[in-house]
Amino acid sequence: MRTLAVVSAGLSQPSSTRLLADKLATATLTRLHDENVETRLLTFELRDYAQDVMNNMLTGFASPRLQTMIDAVTTADGLIAVTPIFTTSYSGLFKSFFDVLDNRALTDQPVLIGATAGTARHSLALDYALRPMFTYLHAVVVPTSVFAASEDWGSGDGRGRVATLPARIERAAGELAALVARSDRSARVQDPFELPAGFNPAGSGLSR
C-alpha cells in the first residue's frame, strides 16, 4: 500500500489549480493501478488550513489539525504540489505551508510540481521558483513539471503535433508513479528522537 498526497493552493471554488491537481493525481493513480500498486490518495486544499498555517508561523507550532495534515503529507510516498502563480511566483499560502515544515521533512520525497496562471508567459515560474524550493528541501522533483495556462484547458488530447496539457500530465504522472511504486516512505517508522550518528552527550572536548 502506497500513499499519494496532493497539496493544492488554489483559492477560488472551483479552482483550476485544484482541477490540475486532480488531473495529475488521477493520471498517477491510473499508472500505479496498471502496475498493481495499491495506492491511497490524500488531497489537501491549503485554503482549508490557511489560518492554521499562519498561526504556526506566528507561534512556532502547528495546531493539532495542521499537524495531522503535515504528518500525512511528509510521510507520503509521493507528493503532487500545485500552486497558482501570483506576482511571478508561487502563492504566499503555498510558500507559507512549506515554510512551516521542518526543513528535513521532505528529504528524498518524490514530488511532482504543477502551476496554473492566466497566460503561458508565467510558465517558467515552475523552474525558477518551485523547483529550486523543493531542491533546497532535498525532495526528488520529477523532470516534467506541468503548467496550465487558461488556454490549455481548451487544448486537444496531445496526439497532435505539439504536446498539449493532457500529454504533459501523462508524462509527469508516469515519472512520479515510477518513483512512488519503489518508495517505502509511508511504511517507515518515524523516530523523532533519533540522534545523529556518532552523537556523544559529553561533547567533543578532550579530557586530558
Binding site: L58, F61, S63, A202
Partner: protein, 390 residues
C-alpha cells in the same frame, strides 16, 4: 515539589495604557517580583538571559546576587543561562560566586538561546549550537568538580592547570537543569549526567512535552541514575487568574492579543486549548496544573511565566498573591497525594551537600562524573535529601 516564577525580562508596552517601563523600572520590577515570590511562600525565582532589546536581563548573576541580599529563603535560578555563547569558565565562576553570596540557594537551567545574532555577537556559529552546548557543559562540570583542569576542545582556548574560583560552596556544584523545547540531543545530555530536564512547555502542545519528557525519563534510567520515575523534571507554565473566570478572560485578552510571541495569531481560546496557558479562576489553574502530572508523571518543579506582555507590576504582584494564597497550597497538597515515596524532590544545596557527605563514605563510590541526581535518588542514599516545603 517546588513552585516558582520565571521571567523573560521583556520591556513590553502595556496595550491598555500605552505605557512602556523604562529599563530601570523593569529591572526593579524583577527584584520586586522576586521578593514577592518569597513573601507569598513560593520556592523559586528564575530569570532569563538576553542580549538584545526589548529585554533587560543580560547579567543574571548580578541580578540574582542582589536578590540574594533581599531574600532569605527562595532558590535563585535561571531560565535559561546560555551555555552556547557564554564562556563556560565565566559561568563556573559567576555561579560559584553567587552560591557563596546566597548561601547555596542557587541552581541554573541551561539553554542554547533562540536569538540568531547572539551567536555571532559572541563569536560563535549558530549552526554549532548543539556541539557548543555539549562541549561547554562538559567543561563547566569539570571546572566545578576538579581543582586543576587541563582541557582542550573545539570552541575555546585550551586550559592548563586552571582552577576556577571561588570553588563551589561546600564543594557542591549548583544543580543543573537542561532546557530544550525540541532537541532530543539536550534531553539525552540531561539524562546522561543525571541532571534535571526543564521543558518550557508554554508555547508548545502538551503532546509534544509529554514525548520529550518520556524520552528523557527513559534515557535517565538507561544511564543508570535511577528509575524513569525518579528523573528530575521541571515544567514551564503560564497563567492569568481572577476570582471570576470571565473577569480573568476579559482582563487578560488585550495582553494576549498583543503579546510579542503569539499576538495577532490564534485566538486566546485556541491557544489555551493547545498549550498550557490557563486564563481563568484559581480553581481552573489548579485543575489544569494538576493535569500536567497525567502526561509527564510526578515531577519536581513548576515555574510560571507571569510578568510579560506588558502586564503592569501591580497586576503581577496581585497574581502572585493569588498563586501563593489560593493555588500553590492546594497544589502542594494534591501533588503530594499518591506520589510514590521513591520519587525524589528537586535537589537543593542542602540535599546535595548531605548526599556528598554520604558519598564520601567509601562504599557509596560510583562514577564520579555522574553524581548529581543519582546521588540523591532515595534508592541510593536513603533519607539524604530534603523534602519539599509543605
Amino acid at each position: 515539589m517546588q513552585f516558582g516564577i520565571f521571567t523573560v525580562g521583556d520591556r513590553t508596552t502595556d496595550p491598555t495604557t500605552g505605557d512602556t517601563p523604562t529599563e530601570n523600572a523593569r529591572i526593579k520590577a524583577m527584584v520586586a517580583i522576586a521578593q514577592k515570590v518569597e513573601e507569598v511562600g513560593l520556592d523559586v525565582f528564575a530569570t532569563g538571559e538576553h542580549h538584545n532589546p526589548p529585554f533587560v536581563p543580560s547579567s543574571p548573576t548580578t541580578l540574582l546576587g542582589y536578590i540574594a541580599g533581599q531574600t532569605s529563603r527562595i532558590i535563585l535560578s535561571t531560565a535559561t543561562t546560555l551555555i552556547t555563547t557564554n564562556d563556560p569558565v565565566k559561568i563556573a565562576e559567576d555561579f560559584a560566586m553567587l552560591q557563596h553570596l546566597a548561601d547555596g540557594r542557587v541552581d541554573l537551567t541551561l539553554g542554547r538561546g533562540n536569538t540568531g545574532p547572539v551567536y555571532p555577537w559572541f563569536g560563535k556559529d549558530i549552526r554549532e549550537g548543539i556541539p557548543l552546548a555539549l562541549e561547554n557543559y562538559a567543561l563547566l562540570r569539570r571546572l566545578w568538580r576538579e581543582e586543576s583542569v587541563d582541557w582542550e576542545g573545539q570552541f575555546r582556548t585550551p586550559l592548563q592547570g586552571f582552577q576556577s574560583t571561588p570553588r563551589p560552596l561546600d564543594g557542591v556544584p549548583p544543580f543543573v537543569w537542561h532546557g530544550s523545547i525540541r532537541s532530543p540531543e539536550i534531553a539525552e545530555q540531561a539524562a546522561y549526567y543525571g541532571d534535571g530536564f526543564f521543558s518550557n512547555h508554554i508555547f508548545w502542545p502538551a503532546s509534544h512535552t509529554a514525548k520529550m519528557v518520556r524520552y528523557y525519563r527513559q534515557r535517565f534510567e538507561h544511564y543508570g541514575h535511577g528509575t524513569a520515575a525518579q528523573a528530575m523534571v521541571g515544567l514551564g507554565g503560564q497563567v492569568f487568574m481572577s476570582k471570576n473566570s470571565q473577569d480573568a478572560k476579559r482582563d487578560f485578552r488585550p495582553y494576549f492579543d498583543n503579546a510579542p510571541v503569539y499576538g495577532n495569531g490564534p485566538s486566546m481560546e485556541d491557544f489555551t486549548s493547545q498549550t498550557p496557558l490557563t486564563v481563568g479562576s484559581p480553581q481552573e489553574v489548579i485543575d489544569r496544573t494538576l493535569g500536567f502530572r497525567d502526561y509527564v508523571g510526578d515531577y519536581q518543579r513548576q515555574l510560571w511565566l507571569m510578568d510579560h506582555a506588558g502586564l503592569p507590576l501591580k497586576t503581577v504582584l496581585e497574581q502572585l498573591d493569588l498563586l501563593g494564597e489560593e493555588v500553590v497550597p492546594v497544589l502542594r497538597r494534591e501533588f503530594a497525594k499518591n506520589r510514590p515515596a521513591t520519587v525524589p524532590d528537586a535537589p537543593t544545596h542542602e540535599s546535595l551537600r548531605l548526599a556528598r557527605v554520604a558519598a564520601t563514605v567509601p562504599a557509596a563510590a560510583g562514577r564520579d562524573d555522574l553524581d548529581t541526581a543519582a546521588a540523591i535518588a532515595p534508592a541510593h542514599t536513603g533519607a539524604a535529601f530534603g523534602r519539599a516545603r509543605a
